[in-house]
């Protein structure tokens, strides 16, 4: 199979013109730095030696974090910027859905803009006349097409831009995160259009953060990170590898957040004011709070439904008999998802003296995908705190399914045989 797009050892250096905002002709002449100012003095490597090819007629998704070089890669393919080294080869007419309606002029009507935008994208006047009705219907803007574009809402603007770009009838379609342009029904229409393109054997290169879309729509996926290609191939596999990497970096970030929270938690602050922090008389002290995964390893990210234990060290400077240990889990909105303590669980304290350890085991962490915070506390039965750790610990629950709400009970659907699913 021949390839429609081929990137061979492509690197792109973005040049930072330091202080360029203030560099003026006058100062350049005064400092005799006219020529040197036209030269870049700092470089930023946006793509490092990236090679991949897209077979004719296939759909390829490029994924990666913000700043990973995805859009740069797309711009190189579109020919908007040139690679610093390496070659980019594209076979066929390109239409780039990168900035929709970039060429629209606000003062003139939608109709005139369709014509000018079409010509910019390489159509002839007659081509546009033929497709005009189709474009307007696709954009659902029939009533507004004679109005100046400045009166359009941003959604209308994007829709018209999308409609023009997609009716250019390209051989290679480049899409940069533009599916967020309309409501559900418009998004469906766009997806249908993509499917139609695929059926007609066109090549599509799509840059997106929507991983399900990549899994559903693409034949291949390319994962870029920090300008380097990390993986290429089967979308499912690449998406999985990407997600694993994201989890890892999330974990690092979470560890840093927690470490910072524990460090800055002022001992003995005003407890009634504190939203997060640590307070209490410290007759019993809690330290080394850790979340452990199924294997007993400290972690900050857990799969929804996996077992988790919360382990912490306790220490009392003198024997204490009146004590309660408690934990509380809060979601990002501050809603208490679950809270309990030894008192609620009908355990009556007897004695603690010296060092010890406590573990709170959860068999199945049935929370939906999201970031959560943890309270851990030791206090007297009347509530007077010994050591209260308020929202100091952050952890992440991950789920490949995107249920809504807070709680994700184990569940199943059953239907009578008359109701069938594919």
């Amino acid at each position: 199979m021949t390839s429609a797009i081929e990137l061979a050892n492509v690197s792109k250096v973005y040049r930072k013109y330091s202080g360029r905002q203030f560099a003026t002709l006058k100062s350049a002449l005064l400092k005799r730095s006219l020529l040197s100012d036209l030269r870049p003095n700092e470089a930023f490597l946006a793509l490092k030696d990236v090679s991949f090819s897209v077979a004719k007629g296939s759909t390829v998704g490029v994924i990666g974090r913000n700043g990973s070089g995805k859009s740069t890669a797309l711009k190189l393919v579109a020919g908007i910027t040139k690679p610093t080294s390496g070659t980019v080869r594209v076979d066929g007419r390109i239409s780039a859905l990168i900035e929709l309606g970039a060429g629209f002029h606000p003062e003139i009507s939608g109709r005139e803009n369709v014509f000018i935008n079409g010509i910019m994208l390489g159509l002839s006047k007659r081509d546009i006349e033929e497709r005009f009705d189709e474009i307007v219907d696709f954009a659902e803007l029939r009533e507004f097409i004679e109005a100046p574009v400045k009166t359009y809402s941003s959604g209308m603007y994007m829709r018209l831009g999308f409609a023009v770009a997609i009716h250019v009838n390209p051989d290679v379609l480049l899409v940069d995160e533009v599916l967020a342009v309309g409501d559900e029904s418009f998004t469906h229409k766009c997806l249908d259009k993509f499917s139609e393109f695929r059926r007609r054997g066109k090549t599509i290169l799509i840059v997106t953060h929507s991983l399900p879309l990549v899994e559903r729509l693409c034949d291949d996926a390319v994962w870029l990170d920090a300008g380097e290609k990390q993986a290429e191939g089967d979308p499912k596999r690449v998406v999985d590898a990407y997600l694993t990497a994201v989890e890892q970096s999330d974990r690092k970030q979470m560890a840093a957040t927690t470490a910072k929270a524990v460090q800055t938690a002022a001992p003995g602050g005003d407890m009634s004011q504190a939203t997060e922090g640590r307070w209490g008389s410290r007759e019993i002290e809690i330290s080394d709070v850790q979340l452990l995964d199924a294997g007993g390893q400290p972690s900050f990210a857990f799969q929804s439904g996996a077992p988790v234990s919360i382990r912490f060290r306790v220490k009392s400077s003198r024997p204490v008999s009146d004590f309660v240990f408690g934990i509380g889990v809060f979601n990002a909105d501050g809603v208490c998802c679950f809270g309990t303590n030894t008192d609620i669980d009908a355990m009556i304290s007897e004695r603690i003296d010296g060092d010890g350890q406590a573990t709170f085991g959860i068999d199945s962490l049935d929370l939906v995908d999201g970031t959560y915070k943890l309270d851990v506390a030791a206090h007297r039965r009347d509530g007077a705190p010994y050591d209260y750790h308020r929202l100091l610990y952050t952890f992440r629950v991950q789920s490949r399914t995107h249920d809504t709400g807070i709680f994700r009970p184990k569940h199943r659907w059953t239907f009578s045989p008359t109701v069938r699913f594919k």
Binding site: I80, A102, I119
Partner: protein, 263 residues
Amino acid sequence: MLSNLGSLLRYRGLIQSLVARELKARYRGSVLGFVWSFVNPLLLLSVYSFVFTTIMPNAEPRTKPFAVFLFCGLLAWTWFAASLTEAASSLISGGNLIKKVLFPAEVLPIVSVLANMVHFLLGLVILAVFMVGFRHYPNPASLPWFPIVIVVQLVFTLGLALGLSALTVHFRDIRDLLSNVLTLWFFATPIIYPYFLPSVSRFLWLFRLNPFYHLAVSYQEILFFDRFGHARSLLLLGVLSVAVFLAGYWLFDRLRDSFAEAV
């Protein structure tokens, strides 16, 4: 560079529709609409005529009717000055196109020059009306030179516009500098005064260094005075204009790749 230059021809449809858009958009939403194309030069002309015929009367009999004389140079100058001013900002205001779409950047300054050329051509209609009104007609024998002057000015302006627009991306203060230079240039060119004044003749060598001097004199001789005797200088300027155009385009081409990042 040559292949890029050749592809300019492929963009003529694009240039054409962008010029049309520019003209349409400029007066969209204004009450008088396209009439402004006529009103603007008329107002400018009446101010200058008032100053130089009533406030500071011009004693030189050869420039009568003064309004027609003034118009010959002023129209061309307005085209030139407005083109350069707009072209200098064209890449920056069209930044969206350069950064986000595969778009031939040179089209933008060219459109600025051509849109102003349309205004110039419309202005000629007013000039013709004035000529009829004052019963002062050009010598038909000189008229064949008229399109040649226009072409020379077009090529000259395009060259400067391309170079300026490319440099302005990197040096934004060219825009401010330019408006001052243009004011100076205007008064250094025989537009509001005739080129044969004794005080002009004294510095003639200096005037002859000014490219627009030759254009202004040509316009005035062709459209206003009886005899066109400036052909040699005009053709020389024509050659120079081609060189200016090539230099401007070369500069533009050299800096082209930096536009998408520096705009």
